[in-house]
Symmetry: C2
Subunit: 327 residues, 2 copies
DNA sequence: TTGTAAGCGTTATCAA
DNA sequence: TTGATAACGCTTACAA
């Protein structure tokens, strides 16, 4: 069986309390006993049982992460940074892929509470899961309003939409079409659409937004892109709400022998490392993923430590326009 | 404070034991008390403390995942499936991004043991971490030999290398160059290289492999690709050991006005969802990521349940050649 | 069918 | 400077 404090104590000829003191560096311990204890721990290959420890101190150093999928480039990169930062602060991470399914999300929420996580960081496309209003459990949303009292971290989606649209207009485009997810979700990402429509109107241009459903397959997205080209042969720019969709536009345009950027300009959104690696030619609006992760962890830790005072409810980080070869 | 079994018991007018029995469906309980207990749990919004439970039953239903990064398309997708399957079997997942750093990996290994995980699934490029030989702790490697006794799951890397090389030869290529990671790592992925070299020689062609270092930046990879074109102006095919590298080849070729696939054929490796979305034109060898995850979880669960008998040490799953537009 | 009591491995309190 | 003891919230003998 695994050695426990008692075993170490016996071997070192001291009491369990003393071993615990050595482990946690608490109280006075003579150098001699400290050495004895350390030797015994080494000899037995002892390491403390965090479960027992958590039970007593009522703190697990666990943080739950609920996101649609690690397979999505944006979330994959975001989760990488979240885990990294948590780990550097002594926190561990329980991973949950909600797949944008409310039932899954609810189950995960319950599971995380049963496992006594110290906090939850969540970002997903569903709205209105009242279960997030958990008394005393710190929660932070990323790009998503979980409840009126939950702090949210996101990048400046309105500014991003503005920058993208303005860039296309500045380059002389007149028929600019936008592709975005469902509007009813009221996610911060919808601000990109608002910005697009505002900027278009301010420039006396007619905004046209194509919506794709929440759970779109590859094919559905491609069909929407085709639809756009069929409906609007004169289109000279497309602003897609994410890079994967922009890549579909690029491909369909190539198929139709529309040269980019001469006859059609395309800009995406997200600018993940994977996109920048695989499609560096794509112009895009880069989200500060690492900074979003840093801010979210900072807030959750503050909540955990009871430093409520200087937590802002809305935390908006600046985006960066990448004017590459498709614009 | 959070309600505990005792609170539920008091409210229901029964003993803690009875509540525990209701929770775990053990022993005989009258319908009347069962209802009373359920009502009390509802009223108090009670849910059991898994930490306390784990401590007693000496089982956490936790599985540790150690992989380089969720941000990498292959690992992101793999981890998505691993978590999914674990979750469906009642297991939770502790996520660790090792970033291919031995020191991090060692720390994570210790952390996971301290947290009493029931098992570990790991895949990363370092070799020889003897700490993986943990007495009685179930471990499974993915695409990686962790120790002589640790089961490994991988796709058929040799067959994949063979399929890719043979395809290029069948299409008439003569100067086929291979790009791969460092050979000293002895990962299963190195079999792709062996297959390439074997098939080349069997066809009386000269195998040339360019190696990139373990921790390559974007720029290093691009420079290697440039080097290849400079060193071998006659090259008519490139087989890259992963899709990200293949995408760099595509781009450099385009820059040099080399038309694909007429003057140069390119094939990658992995075929993740993200690649298939962003670069569907890229020919590649698709790994059965979901099946790899399923096999790995199956094995770890068997180990956890002590069903050692029918566990194979080597588990090799078939790959699929995708002959798209770059070959 | 239900209850009492002990113990999982740790830490904090208090006393020595 | 060290040790005995109780407690964290749960489950399981054993008893009733």
């Amino acid at each position: 069986m695994k050695p426990k404090i008692e075993d170490v104590a016996k071997l070192a000829g001291v009491s369990p309390t003393t071993v615990s003191r050595v482990l946690n560096n608490r109280g006075y311990i003579s150098e001699k006993t400290r050495k004895k204890v350390h030797d015994s721990m080494e000899q037995l290959n002892y390491y403390p049982n965090e479960i027992a420890r958590s039970l007593f101190i009522k703190k697990t150093y666990l943080i739950g992460l609920i996101f649609p999928s690690t397979g999505h480039p944006f979330y994959g990169q975001l989760i990488f940074h979240l885990e990294n930062i948590c780990s550097s602060l002594g926190y561990k991470v329980l991973l949950c892929n909600s797949q944008n399914r409310e039932d899954k999300e609810r189950n995960y929420l319950k599971m995380l509470q049963m496992n006594q996580v110290d906090g939850i960081i969540a970002g997903a496309h569903n709205r209105g899961i009242e279960e997030y209003e958990i008394p005393k459990l710190p929660v932070v949303g990323i790009d998503r309003n979980l409840s009126s009292k939950t702090p949210v971290v996101s990048s400046d989606n309105y500014e991003g939409g503005k920058l993208a649209t303005q860039l296309l207009i500045d380059k002389g485009c007149k028929q600019i079409i936008h592709i975005n997810g469902p509007q009813y979700l009221e996610t911060p990402a919808n601000l990109r659409r608002n910005a697009y429509e505002d900027v278009m109107r301010a420039n006396k241009l007619n905004p046209i937004t194509y919506e794709f459903p929440l759970k779109s397959t590859d094919e559905i997205v491609i069909n929407i892109v085709k639809q756009i080209f069929d409906d609007h042969p004169q289109v000279d720019a497309i602003f897609a709400s994410d890079d994967l969709i922009a890549s579909k536009v690029l491909r369909e345009a190539r198929k139709r022998n529309i040269t980019i950027p001469q006859h059609l300009k395309v800009i995406g959104y997200d600018g993940t490392e994977t996109t920048r690696m695989m499609l560096p030619e794509l112009s895009t609006v880069e989200q500060p993923i690492k900074e979003i992760a840093e801010k979210a962890v900072e807030i959750i830790i503050k909540q955990i430590n009871g430093e409520q005072e200087d937590i802002q409810l809305e935390n908006i980080l600046p985006v960066k326009l990448i004017d590459s070869e498709t614009t």
